[in-house]
C-alpha cells in the first residue's frame, strides 16, 4: 500500500545488491531509534541486515561535543550479510561533531547527507572545525546533500502546535523519511510504529508522522538526489521471521530453556551496561515462570541465583566485566556445590570501568580461569545476535544435565546488534535430559551419573533427600566434609573431568566457510563471526587457501578441534583482545598460533583482516 505522501517518483531507479548506511548525531538526537526503525523496515521488506549501534556512555552528553556523538550503522542487502559493513555508502550527519567524527568512514564518492542547519559557527568550533566544511572544499570527494533539516522539520511540524524545542526533536523522523525515499521504502510500518509508540502523546505522534512524510516528500522532489536505489529481498528459508537483538535473543533463550526444563527461572541481576536489557526483558515475563530480582549488588545477584538453583530453579545472572569480577567467589561456590547456574557476561571494554558501551572480548581469561582454586566451568559464546537464543537455551540445558555453572560470553556488539531471526517452533527445540533422583536409600549428594559425572539435584522440599552442602571439600563417596588429601585431589580431577565431558554433548567443530584444509585457518569466537566469515569467504573466492573456524565452546573446546587445526599449515586467531584465545589454544595444543588482535572498542573490519590474511598466506608460500 502506498502512503499518500509517497508520490510516484520519476527518478531513475538503480538496482544495487546492498548498502551501508550510518546515522550519526548528538546522543539526544534519536539516532538509535532512527537506525532501529530503518532496520525494521528493511528487514520487513525481506532484506538481510546487520547492525552496529555505537553510542557514548553519557546519557545525554553536552550538545555538539565530539564525545557525545551517537551512531547507528547498518548493512542491508539482497543476499546474506554478516557484518554491518566496513565503509559507508551513505553517512547521515545531524550535527557538526557527527560529521567530524564519522566522515573518514564514508567511501570516496559516497553520499553525505548533512544538516546544514546544525553547522553554525559555535557548533563548528565545538566540533573542531576552523572553517565550514561545506564551504572550504574539504567535502569535494563526496556527493554532498547539505539540507537545513532542523529548519525544514520545524516548519513542517509547526501546525501541530509543538514548541520549537519539541519540533526540533522530530528531525530524526524527517531524516528517516528522506532516506526511505532514496531507498524506495514504504512508510507504513514506521507510521504504525509512531502511532503505537506515542499513543499517549498524540501531538508527538502527529509531529513525528508529519516529519517522516515531509522528509520523504523532500527526498522525492529534491534535485539533490538524482536517482533512487532498489535493493531486492534476500532469498530466505520459508518461515516466520522477526528482527532480534542479542540481549533479547539471549533473554528468550534463557526463558525457553527454563520452560522446556519445566522449572522456574530465577534471575539475580544488578543494573550494568550493556547487560541491563536482559534484566529488563526477563522482568516482563513472570507469567512464564520467571522471577527477576534486582539485587542489592553484583555479589548478591550471583548468590541468589545460586540459592535458587539449590532450591530447584534455573538460577541465572547477567552482568558485564566489573560485575563478573565481583561474582567470582559465588561462581566458585557453584563449582564446589555442583549446582546448575548460568552466568551471562555481556563483555565491554575494560579494565575496570573501561569503555562501558563498547565491545571487547577481554573477559575470556576471567571466564575460563578467573576463580580461586581449581574451578573449571563451561564457557560458551554466541557468534551472532540471533545465535544468542540457541546458546542461551543450550547453556540452561548443559547446566542442568551436567550440574555445573555455565558462563555465556556475549558482548556489547552482539547485545545491541540486530538481525532477522527465523522464529523457532517451541515444539522443535531440543528436549532436556534431566536425571531422576536415585532411591533415597542410595542417595548421597555426590552420587555421580556414570556418563556425565553429574551429581543428583535434590532440592529442599523433597522428602528423604535432606543433605548439607557448601564450599568445603566433600568426601567423594558420602558428600560429607572431608580434609583427606587424596580425596581432595580426586574431587578436583573429577570436577574437571565432568566439565571436560561436556564436549561429548556439543557439536563437533566444523569449518564455517572456505577451505577445510590448506594454508591458513582463521579461528574466531563470539561477535567477530561476521567479519571473519566475510574476509575468509571473499579471499577464498579469489583462490586464497584459507578457512574459517568459529568456536562456540571455549571450555571445553569442541571435539575434533585438533584434527581441523592439523589440516592447515598455519593458524591465525582473530579476536577483540590482546590474544586470549590464541594463548589458551597455544597452552592446550602446543601449536605455533598467530594472533590478530584489536582493542579499540570496535569490531574487526573485514578489510583489515583480509590484509592480514593475505600477508600470512604470502609469508607461508
Amino acid at each position: 500500500m502506498q502512503n499518500e505522501s509517497e508520490v510516484p517518483s520519476n527518478k531513475p531507479e538503480i538496482v544495487v545488491n546492498g548498502a551501508v548506511i550510518r546515522f550519526a548525531g548528538d546522543s539526544g538526537d534519536g539516532v538509535q531509534l532512527t537506525g532501529q526503525r530503518f532496520t525494521s523496515a528493511v528487514a520487513l521488506a525481506g532484506n538481510d541486515v546487520a547492525t552496529l549501534p555505537d553510542f557514548p556512555s553519557e546519557i545525554r552528553a553536552p550538545a555538539g561535543t565530539l564525545y557525545g556523538v551517537s551512531g547507528y550503522q547498518l548493512q542491508f542487502a539482497s543476499k546474506d550479510v554478516f557484518t554491518p559493513g566496513d565503509s559507508l555508502d551513505v553517512l547521515v550527519a545531524l550535527n557538526a561533531a557527527a560529521l567530524q567524527t564519522n566522515l573518514s568512514d564514508l567511501k570516496p564518492g559516497g553520499l553525505l547527507v548533512v544538516d546544514s542547519g546544525a553547522l553554525g559557527a559555535a557548533q563548528l568550533k565545538k566540533a573542531g572545525y576552523a572553517t565550514n566544511p561545506l564551504e572550504d572544499g574539504s567535502l569535494s570527494g563526496y556527493q554532498v546533500a547539505a539540507i537545513d533539516i532542523s529548519t525544514l522539520t520545524r516548519k513542517a511540524v509547526t501546525p501541530v502546535g509543538l514548541s520549537t524545542k519539541e519540533a526540533g526533536r522530530c528531525k530524526n523522523f524527517w531524516t528517516l523519511g528522506l532516506i526511505f525515499s532514496i531507498y524506495d521504502r514504504s512508510l507504513d510500518t514506521t507510521l504504525s510504529f509512531i502511532a503505537e509508540q506515542f499513543k499517549k502523546k498524540p501531538q508527538f505522534a502527529e509531529g513525528n508522522s508529519i516529519a517522516l512524510k515531509a522528509g520523504y516528500a523532500f527526498g522525492t522532489a529534491s534535485e539533490l538526489f538524482h536517482q533512487r536505489y532498489r535493493i531486492a529481498a534476500a532469498p530466505r528459508n520459508p518461515g516466520l521471521y522477526r528482527n532480534i537483538d542479542g540481549n533479547t535473543a539471549l533473554s528468550y533463550g534463557l526463558i525457553a530453556g527454563s520452560v522446556c526444563a519445566g522449572r522456574h527461572l530465577v534471575l539475580g541481576a544488578y543494573p550494568i551496561t550493556p547487560a541491563s536489557a536482559i534484566l529488563q526483558e526477563l522482568s516482563k515475563h513472570r507469567h512464564l515462570g520467571v522471577t527477576a530480582i534486582q539485587a542489592e549488588d553484583e555479589i548478591a545477584a550471583a548468590c541468589l541465583a545460586l540459592g535458587a538453583a539449590y532450591a530447584g530453579a534455573v538460577g541465572i545472572c547477567c552482568t558485564s566485566g566489573p560485575g563478573m569480577a565481583l561474582k567470582t567467589e559465588a561462581i566458585g561456590l557453584a563449582v564446589a556445590t555442583e549446582l546448575p547456574m548460568v552466568i551471562v557476561d555481556v563483555q565491554r571494554a575494560g579494565p575496570s570501568t573501561g569503555l562501558p558501551t563498547k565491545p571487547e572480548q577481554s573477559d575470556l581469561y576471567l571466564a575460563v580461569h578467573g576463580r580461586n582454586g581449581e574451578a573449571p566451568v563451561c564457557v560458551l559464546a554466541p557468534a551472532t545476535p540471533a545465535e544468542c537464543f540457541t546458546v542461551a537455551y543450550d547453556a540452561v540445558r548443559i547446566a542442568i544435565r551436567h550440574m555445573t555453572p555455565v558462563i555465556i560470553l556475549s558482548d556489547a556488539y552482539l547485545a545491541h546488534g540486530a538481525e532477522p531471526w527465523l522464529v523457532p517452533d517451541v515444539d522443535q527445540l531440543p528436549k532436556f535430559e534431566q536425571t531422576a533422583l536415585p532411591p533415597t536409600e542410595l542417595f548421597t549428594p555426590m552420587l555421580r551419573n556414570d556418563v556425565t559425572l553429574a551429581r543428583p539435584w535434590a532440592s529442599p522440599g523433597t522428602p528423604g533427600y535432606e543433605h548439607r552442602i557448601g564450599g568445603l571439600e566433600k568426601d567423594y563417596d558420602t558428600g560429607q566434609i572431608s580434609v583427606d588429601p587424596l580425596n581432595h585431589e580426586r574431587m578436583v580431577r573429577t570436577r574437571a573431568e565432568k566439565v571436560a565431558r561436556i564436549a561429548d554433548d556439543m557439536p563437533e567443530c566444523r569449518i564455517e566457510v572456505g577451505a577445510s584444509q590448506g594454508k591458513l585457518l582463521v579461528i574466531g569466537w563470539g561477535s567477530t563471526y561476521g567479519s571473519i566469515r566475510e574476509a575468509v569467504a571473499q579471499l577464498h573466492a579469489k583462490g586464497v587457501s584459507v578457512g574459517h573456524l568459529h568456536l562456540r565452546g571455549l571450555c571445553p573446546f569442541p571435539r575434533g578441534l585438533e584434527a581441523v587445526m592439523s589440516a592447515f599449515g598455519k593458524i591465525l586467531v582473530a579476536e577483540l583482545n590482546s590474544g586470549q584465545l590464541a594463548q589458551l589454544l597455544r597452552a592446550k595444543f602446543c601449536l605455533d598460533i598467530k594472533s590478530f588482535t584489536k582493542i579499540q572498542g570496535k569490531p574487526i573490519r573485514t578489510d583489515e583482516l583480509m590484509d592480514r590474511i593475505l600477508k600470512e598466506s604470502e609469508d607461508y608460500s
Binding site: 520487513l44 525481506g46 510500518t189 510504529f193 530466505r236 520459508p238 518461515g239 516466520l240 521471521y241 522477526r242 528468550y252 526463558i255 525457553a256 520452560v259 522456574h264 530465577v266 539475580g268 515475563h285 513472570r286 507469567h287 512464564l288 522471577t291 530480582i293 542489592e296 549488588d297 555479589i299 548478591a300 545477584a301 548468590c303 541468589l304 541465583a305 545460586l306 540459592g307 535458587a308 538453583a309 539449590y310 532450591a311 530447584g312 530453579a313 567467589e329 559465588a330 566458585g332 561456590l333 522464529v423 523457532p424 517452533d425 517451541v426 532440592s459 529442599p460 522440599g461 522428602p463 528423604g464 533427600y465 535432606e466 543433605h467 548439607r468 552442602i469 557448601g470 564450599g471 566434609i481
Partner: protein
Amino acid sequence: MTMVVETARLTQKDFASSDDVRWCPGCGDYGILSSVLKVLPELEIPKENFVWVSGIGCSSRFPYYVDTYGFHSIHGRAPAVALGVKAANPKLSVWLVTGDGDGLSIGGNHLMHCFRRNLDVKVLLFNNRIYGLTKGQYSPTSELGKQTHSSPFGSADRPVDPIRFALGCGATFVARSYDTAGAHLVDVLRRAARHRGTAFVEILQNCHVFNDAAFEQITNKASASANQLRLENGKPLVYGEAKDKGLALDPATLSLAKVENVGSNGSSKSLMVHDESSPILAQFLASLSFPEYPVPLGVLYANSLPTYEDQLHHLDIQAKETARGGLQALLKSGQVWQVPAA
C-alpha cells in the same frame, strides 16, 4: 513438587544430624544448637521443608548439625542465598545463621536488604564480639579500644549495635537472647519461628577461646537479674532480683530513666509498659547503654507487614492478568513477517 507426607510427630532426635559437632568444647554455640533442636519439632513443619543457610565463620558451621536441607555458603552472603531459595520456593522454612563478622562486616549490605525486603526468613546472629575462626581479630561489634591480634594497641573502630542496625533497616521482628539462656532462648526462637517476615535474633554467645566472658556480667547467675531487662509484652519494664527497679519515660530528656524501689513487680504506674509493636519504644530500648542500664532481652519489636513473598505473590496475580500467551507467543511477538515457501 513438594509432597506433603503425614508423618509421626518429629522429635529432637530427628533433627540432630550424624555429623560430628566440631566447635571447641565449651563453646556457646552448643547451647544455641540445643535450644534450636528443642524448637524445630514443635513447629510441625516437615523436615524436608527446612533449609538452614549460613555464611562463613564458627557460627556458619551450624547447618551441618541439623538434619534438614542446609547450605553452607560464602562469607557474608547467606541472606542473598536465602533470597534465591525463597524466590524459587516460597513455601520453605528458611533459617540463617550468621555471626557478628559474617553478618555485620562482610555481609552487612545483604543483611540490610534482607531486613528492608522483609523476606520471610529467620536470622540468628551469634554475637561474640570477636573473629573466632580466623583466631582472634576484632569484629564490628568489638568495643572501641579492644586489644586483639589485629589491634595490638586497641581497635580504632566504634562498634555497631546489631539490634539498632536491624531496627534501622526496617526489620519487622527484633529480639535478643543469649547462648546459655535455656528456656528464654527457646521462647525467643519459638516467637521468631512464628513471625511472618524477617525475624532477627541477636544471640549473645561466648567465645571462651578468643574473647572469654565478653557478656559475663549479663549472663552469670550472680549479676544476671541486675543486668538483664527481660521484656514481656504488655508488662512494665522492671529488672533486679526483686523486680524492684524499673524504667520510666523521662519527657525532659526523651529517654528511659531508671526508677528505684518501684514496689513488687513494678506496680508503680509511672513505669513504661512494653509494647512490641512500638518502633519508637524499640529504639529507646535498643539505645540503653550497658552497664549504666540493663540489657533488654526478649522481643524488642514485632510488627506484621507484608513479606517479600507476599509481594511476589501479588506480582504473580498481576502477571496473570496481563499475560499475553505462552512461550511461542513471546518468541513471535513484535513485528513479524512470513517468508513463503518458494
